[in-house]
């Protein structure tokens, strides 16, 4: 009898030990195709158990958790301005960046972040909407005379300001310099005024694709991964306007006060490896932020999971990046609130 109890006890103990060797990690990301790509790209191959949760971005929930001292998120997928502000405010832990810091295409934006992918705000259209002459530049996007029809853009200000300036003749590399002067912002809004009556607004990432498919709009701005999926897996006749593409970065960070700090750090290190990043690109047309990961993709072509070349759809190829703008998180951390209020006023009037 005692022996039996002993066996039961030890087996329970060992069970407890095994299960605590890999504490559950709560990984919070944006959901949808992107998180599915993270899941297939590297989370599934992780030894431990990962609870994937979705959120809508922003630092609100993280700040609330950290201030209340009850942090339930271990790893969060964030945008660069969150990476800057969150690190400044002590909401995120500092990370060991030695592994990737010399291997980055851009960034990292702060000491608290590990690389994931580049995604982009890209203009696109349906080929059938323009049987003759096709729009090629962002100028065409803003030219409602030459290419009549509705434009679908997102309800917030990011990227639209940048694109408007390029359409008005500002070189991509001078966009943020221009935006740092009041005249530059006025100029962007003046350009936006020219298409205002032809704009419909979306706020969910799937909408611009539906709007183009249904013919509700003839051109739209969208996340390039969504366009890529529509072309590569749904066989839509969409085409990109790879001009004034605004590249946004995506990072991982660990909220201060997580109960699984050691595990979270291990997981983030794993998620930021070149192999993991290339794994994401296998399932969604976002670009890895590490040069070595991009190499894996290039040499592995056709890399996309259904056996198609993915590089033409990834926003960091040489041809695209020459005419692209890398979004400046510091500018947006400084001016985001002011410009967003102005954008809101512009929209509603």
């Amino acid at each position: 009898m005692i022996k039996k109890i002993k066996i039961a006890f030890f087996s329970l103990m060992s069970f407890a030990l095994v299960s605590s060797a890999y504490a559950d990690i709560t990984f919070v990301s944006w959901g949808g195709a992107y998180t599915a790509a993270q899941q297939k790209g590297y989370i599934n191959d992780w030894d431990g158990k990962v609870n994937v949760e979705n959120y809508n971005g922003g630092l609100g929930e993280i700040k609330a958790q950290v201030e209340a001292g009850n942090v339930t998120w271990d790893v969060v997928d964030i945008l660069p301005d969150q990476g800057v502000t969150g690190c400044d405010e002590g909401l995120f832990l500092k990370l060991d960046q030695s592994e990737f810091i010399d291997d980055m295409i851009a960034g990292p934006v702060s000491e608290c972040v590990a690389p994931q992918i580049f995604w982009a705000y890209t203009a696109f259209y349906s080929k059938s909407a323009f049987p003759d002459k096709k729009p090629k530049t962002i100028k065409d996007f803003f030219d409602v005379e030459k290419f009549p029809g509705k434009r679908a853009i997102h309800t917030w200000a990011n990227a639209t300001i940048e694109m408007a300036l390029v359409a008005d003749g500002v070189k991509p590399e001078f966009v943020y310099k221009m935006m740092s002067t009041p005249e530059g912002i006025d100029r962007a809004f003046a350009k936006l005024d020219t298409i205002k009556d032809h704009v419909i607004f979306w706020s969910a990432g799937s909408k611009p694709l539906e709007m183009i498919s249904s013919g509700e709009a003839v051109m739209a701005l969208a996340y390039n991964g969504r366009i890529g999926a529509a072309i590569l897996t749904d066989g839509k006749d969409f085409d990109y306007i790879w001009d004034a593409t605004v590249l946004e970065q995506e990072y991982l960070a660990i909220p201060t006060g997580t109960k699984n700090e050691a595990e979270a750090r291990k997981f983030v290190a794993y998620a930021a490896t070149a192999k993991s990043l290339a794994g994401v690109t296998k399932h969604i047309t976002y670009a890895p932020m590490r040069k070595s990961a991009l190499k894996i993709v290039k040499s592995g072509e056709p890399w996309f999971h259904n056996g198609i070349d993915v590089m033409p759809h990834v926003p960091t190829s040489k041809k695209i990046i020459k005419k692209a703008i890398v979004a400046d998180p510091m500018w947006w951390a400084d001016n985001g609130a002011e410009v967003s209020e102005r954008f809101g006023a512009w929209k509603g009037n």
């Binding site: 502000t85 400044d88 607004f201 969910a204 249904s214 013919g215 400084d334 002011e338 967003s340 006023a345």
Partner: protein
């Protein structure tokens, strides 16, 4: 005197009956209080404390005063002409250099609300000040070398609004006003004025949604209350079914119906009522917000109306008609007044929910359908300007309280009935 003592009734053990009763009552009272105590505590900790602590943020500016005590002390003596004197620069230098990174980060987020650009300026300075020694004054020129924004009086003037640990600035921001450096209240620049318009819009949409819900909900509730059971049950399911369906699903379905190439517009074009190139814009604007919110909030109107109408005896109407009133007159004089408690309850419920609505305006609001809740959300999540969020929320709460008070004066709160 002696007579009054005599009239006092005593219990068998000689204690005055009054006291004895009181004692017994007290026991009951304590017992009753103990029973509701968990609920009271629950409400206190999950409702009053969080809301209270959030609201205190709307006037709280103490953090920045803790990070820059010396700077603000010398700053207050400055006459706000041109650039501040060296001692202000020196104090600022010292405090930026010696404060921890987190403190400075948090403080710079706050400073950025007052003037865009503080954030990057402080961040850059914090990094570069490391190379300048503390005894290496004067600092004015050196700081300007690090970032030329230190020579821009606009930034220094913006500090003036933060020098007190209590501030009403967020409340003024919430109505498109702000402090100048002398703490006079002035207008925001015109192209940033967004909140007053949004407040008006929020009320307009909420009132319209409440009105449409009443117009649509009243006949439904009437039918529900008067039809024979087997039909009314079916109708009830029709009312409740959408209520049980996911909010997002319903919103997306409305998008399919209302968009320009959607079902409704297609039908209108096919039937020749509108021309193909003049399709109506019913989505991604205020119209869309109102239509979708009306449908989503309809059950909140129907259910209280129904439960009140159920209690109105059909005999009243019959009597009125018997006595020669026209049906319309009978309805207006007899039925309607009896259903007022339901209208009140439904109206209040729909209006209160509508005024703080967030998700529907976010998804279908597009151009001009966004409401104050969307800005509260924006500042909570993106700018982390919780002070402004709290002020917007506080104003919302205050407006609701006033409305409730007015309502109580006009209609009487006892005239609300949820069932």
């Amino acid at each position: 005197m002696s007579e009054t003592i005599k009239t006092e009734i005593l219990t068998t053990d000689g204690v005055p009956l009054k006291d004895s009763l009181k004692k017994a009552e007290r026991k009951n009272k304590i017992r009753a209080t103990l029973l509701v105590l968990p609920l009271l505590l629950f409400i206190f900790f999950t409702f009053i404390v969080p809301i209270g602590s959030m609201l205190t943020r709307s006037t709280d500016d103490s953090y920045i005063n803790k990070v820059f005590p010396k700077t603000f002390e010398v700053y207050k003596k400055w006459d706000r002409q041109g650039l501040p004197p060296e001692e202000v620069y020196a104090a600022m230098f010292l405090e930026v250099k010696t404060a921890s990174g987190f403190e400075i980060g948090k403080a710079s987020t706050r400073m950025n609300y007052a003037k865009s650009g503080w954030k990057s300026m402080i961040k850059k300075s914090k990094r570069k000040f490391k190379k300048i020694d503390l005894n290496d004054g004067p600092f004015k020129e050196k700081m300007i070398q690090v970032d030329k924004k230190w020579a821009d009086p606009q930034y220094w003037l913006a500090l003036g609004v933060m020098v007190d640990p209590k501030t009403y600035e967020y409340y003024f921001n919430a109505i498109d006003k702000k402090y100048d450096s002398e703490k006079n209240v002035i207008d925001q620049p015109e192209n940033r004025q967004i909140y007053v318009k949004t407040w008006i819009k929020t009320f307009k949409v909420s009132i319209l949604v409440t009105f449409f819900c009443l117009m649509l909900g009243y006949p439904i509730a009437y039918l529900l209350a008067t039809l024979p059971l087997k039909y009314s049950n079916l109708l009830m399911i029709c009312v409740l079914l959408p209520f049980w369906t996911s909010l997002l699903v319903r919103i997306v379905v409305w998008m399919v119906i209302l968009q320009q190439k959607g079902v409704f517009n297609n039908l209108m074009v096919i039937s020749g009522l509108i021309a193909d190139e003049n399709r109506w814009q019913l989505m991604y604007n205020q119209t869309g917000t109102i239509i979708v919110m009306t449908q989503i909030l309809l059950p909140f109107m129907v259910l209280p109306l129904y439960s009140v109408m159920k209690t109105i005896s059909p005999n009243y109407m019959r009597a009125a008609l018997n006595l020669g009133a026209s049906p319309l007159h009978a309805f207006w004089k007899i039925y309607m007044p009896n259903s007022v408690p339901g209208i009140s309850a439904g109206g209040m419920l729909v209006f209160v929910i509508a005024i703080g609505y967030f998700i529907t305006p976010e998804l279908v609001g597009g151009k001009d359908g966004q409401m104050i809740g969307n800005w509260i959300g924006y500042h909570l999540k993106t700018t982390l300007n919780w002070g402004l969020s709290a002020a917007l929320g506080g104003i919302l709460l205050a407006i609701m309280t006033v409305l409730y008070w007015v309502y109580n004066k006009l209609v009487g709160i006892e005239n609300i009935k949820l069932g």
